[in-house]
Symmetry: D2
Subunit: 300 residues, 4 copies
Amino acid sequence: MLRSPTEWRIYIDWHTKYTGLMLRISRVYYSSKSRYQEIDIVESPDLGKCLLIDGVIQSTTYDEYIYHEALVHPVMLTAKDPKNVLIIGGGEGATIREVLKHDVENVTVIDIDEELVNACKEHLKEMHQGSFYDKRVELIFGDGLQFLNESKMTYDVIILDLTDPTEDTSQLLYTQEFYSLIRDRLSNNGAMVTQATSPNFSPHCYSIIHNTIEQVFKYARAYIAPVRSYGGLWGFVIASNYNDPLYINEDAKISGKLSFYDKSIHRALFALPLSLRERIEREDRIATNNNRIYMPSFER
Amino acid sequence: MLRSPTEWRIYIDWHTKYTGLMLRISRVYYSSKSRYQEIDIVESPDLGKCLLIDGVIQSTTYDEYIYHEALVHPVMLTAKDPKNVLIIGGGEGATIREVLKHDVENVTVIDIDEELVNACKEHLKEMHQGSFYDKRVELIFGDGLQFLNESKMTYDVIILDLTDPTEDTSQLLYTQEFYSLIRDRLSNNGAMVTQATSPNFSPHCYSIIHNTIEQVFKYARAYIAPVRSYGGLWGFVIASNYNDPLYINEDAKISGKLSFYDKSIHRALFALPLSLRERIEREDRIATNNNRIYMPSFER
Amino acid sequence: MLRSPTEWRIYIDWHTKYTGLMLRISRVYYSSKSRYQEIDIVESPDLGKCLLIDGVIQSTTYDEYIYHEALVHPVMLTAKDPKNVLIIGGGEGATIREVLKHDVENVTVIDIDEELVNACKEHLKEMHQGSFYDKRVELIFGDGLQFLNESKMTYDVIILDLTDPTEDTSQLLYTQEFYSLIRDRLSNNGAMVTQATSPNFSPHCYSIIHNTIEQVFKYARAYIAPVRSYGGLWGFVIASNYNDPLYINEDAKISGKLSFYDKSIHRALFALPLSLRERIEREDRIATNNNRIYMPSFER
Amino acid sequence: MLRSPTEWRIYIDWHTKYTGLMLRISRVYYSSKSRYQEIDIVESPDLGKCLLIDGVIQSTTYDEYIYHEALVHPVMLTAKDPKNVLIIGGGEGATIREVLKHDVENVTVIDIDEELVNACKEHLKEMHQGSFYDKRVELIFGDGLQFLNESKMTYDVIILDLTDPTEDTSQLLYTQEFYSLIRDRLSNNGAMVTQATSPNFSPHCYSIIHNTIEQVFKYARAYIAPVRSYGGLWGFVIASNYNDPLYINEDAKISGKLSFYDKSIHRALFALPLSLRERIEREDRIATNNNRIYMPSFER
């Protein structure tokens, strides 16, 4: 039969049951099922190298810088002079890369899936850029919740770079109990941030995550960044007992090249569309261990 | 054979040759080829009613409010107390709807395709909400360029709600000559705005449109809004010889319900990602009648 | 955004939950939901005009001649000099067209969906070729089962050109009770034929239909024809108390142009692949009103 | 984002520019680009393990038995008591498997792509079933045309299990010059067979291959087999100077289990649809080294 002039391997990143981003795939670098999840690393002519977990785009070389800069820099400028940073998740190493642009002393990274991290180390050098091997970085394989429960350490910044709350494992990292644990492990001048799902596809999750964190911290702010690989906006929530995240440490220096974030747009990230602000304000539910949020329950 | 549990009619809004938004379609309301273009009005379970022209999503009831509020309100608040407004394009009537939330006296609308407007009148009432029938509105079928050339009228605001510059007709509405004509048809305290293609898929177009308009007007500002139906960010350029669009008329009133825009986020629309600002600054080309921009020539 | 060089309207004829035929659609002629079913008539660059019912390809101008010639001519040559013919289903009129190539006197056609027949009359002239208007043809709108129950007429040939047994209505036309009723309405030298679903996608249906008919008639033969628009082979069962369908009336004349069938390939239609013969022989279930076959229950 | 309840990896086997078979893929076993071609071995829930070369389905465990039995047994029963067999192509080993069901002494297999054969040896044991390791089999890596040119050997049967004539390499194995070379390398009582592309998607190729072979051999017969994985019918041409392939050696024994072919359906394979016979008869072109057939030039 005929080889089509177009690529013939198709990947669909379903946003909902009815809508998705359709990519033609020009190469498969890695395709395996680890103990925890399905892992694929593929090449898209438009989005570059793509990391997929359980069939969902996690990062692409096209615009992972937007997600990772938006995740890391606001919280690093909200805490006061952070030296000790904890990252939960983020197996592709790009979150570490951004943290290392700040004047930190220790970065602890905990990811549950060693096979995933090894695959990223080998196939996604564009993303981690060697940051796994920086001497300030300690990499631990294990369960983030269990680690925090058992640890007595405190951190200036805690970054939750998690998969979406679709299953037990990650759902427990989006609850009031977990955020209370995070608060207890933060130093006095510390701050935390979490990815908070899509304001477009799961506004209820985004709203509940914000509402839950607001119960636990003095300051909690929802913000957004535009990530084409995620089909539109992506959501984050940042929190602190020390400082309102709207007002950053203007003296802090970020070394290394930035491509998305600089201080001049910091405030704009918090300027949500009116309908989204109304959606968040309307939310009165919170997530707990007994009443977790669940991503695929769409609402609009 | 088997009826699938999923919808079986698929529409792909190709963003590039390799990537697109894939929708399942639950109903076809209208499908025809007019004198000028292919027109489809369909139902998507996620995006609601969708207007497609030549296979490209123009508006969906899911988030057309974002595009149309972002297109209309900033320019209406940049001009001084605008009474006479000209809209070129915008056959679905939603741009008129937003303009009528301001205290205007006359709205002239010129669209080239009568069949398109009639189809929208019948099938997209959610979008136009009767605005075609407001007594302040005059609807003319014809070519916008020719109309402006022949008209001696001036307007306080001119809104270019055009299809993308993929063919002769619309390409000529994105040139230095055309923007000069617009400038000549604006009143002293007037302002104009144009949709400016996607900062994601055609950053060269977006940059050239901005650069071209900057040659013609004292103030020209690029801004963005997040439109999921368009696969991410959408771009606009606003210009005026009277007023810097960053600073709006704070006293102006907008009647009627808004869902995306309010004055509190006006400034944030202009806070572009760093890489996009750098892309725009790097641009030194301008579009002219003899050297037009052409959308499908991708660059990144 | 970009108009793709390829067609952007996609239709997927799902063969199973995981596999389907994907068509690009260049035009939509008709799209509606009748009292009984969803009806679409569309243009495919490869398959020509396609009639879809509930999202399933029924006929295409590319190869409906194979299906309809294979359905009609073997049974017309099995019965002895047939004059009175009953067709149940077959709203596109192509089955009538083939029957009229024989020297018949009356053709009664009963279809449940008047809107479907009207849409085919208007948009599928290539298929019916005016056969609806032949003076020997009587068209009745109603339920085939009820019609046969209430009628006292007998026919020389009865042709069951039905949708697949996915729902109550059509499932009852694939049972032992129904085939007994058919037998009672056949003249002494008569014969019947039914479409019998796909030997590829629903071999259990094909086998059970054959087995059920075998209980009711002296001669029952399964046969096949290759129909690309149906993704491969299509199955039929022919039966008679008068004559073994392997041996046709060699003297009968078929007027008009044929494109698939001629007497020289008659026997070959009954030469099933070995694995399919084994599958049919293995089948010991029969379909009854209380225990109907159901198409989507795949087995292999 | 959401993991769809359906599989998210899609493969489209394009039959033409507008139509293709769409599969959901549940696993990728192997994905690589060899010196000669792209090779993928994947799992489809319906078709089982699939071997794809340059994005085109070559074999699936669902129905490769139909293709391989149809390719091998007719020619083995046409030649007189064949002992020495040459196979060109057929890297997955299933053609060897079928040949070994006959009482042969030597099977020479020549394939150009060692990486392909190694991947099949490891991942497609269901297909080759160890036949590569039978002591009668000699496997040579190289170019089939060059091998035949340089060899002085003769064979009782030559089987051409080639990729489609889309590029120089394989196009030269479908010419009058090549078939003359085959004829010269056959023993007096020998026979040859070639796959001959799809009667559905490339009837011109099928017709020209038949017409070309007819110039070279006393007997040349076109036949078909239904292969769902190839979207419908598949074509073959068998030829001999010794025996008309319609009449097989009824005394020959085939050991081992067959699933598609037995002698009772041999004749039926040659009973082509009327329109296909007319298409073949109409063909007056032949393929030569200077005027090769080219698969993607569709005609109907």
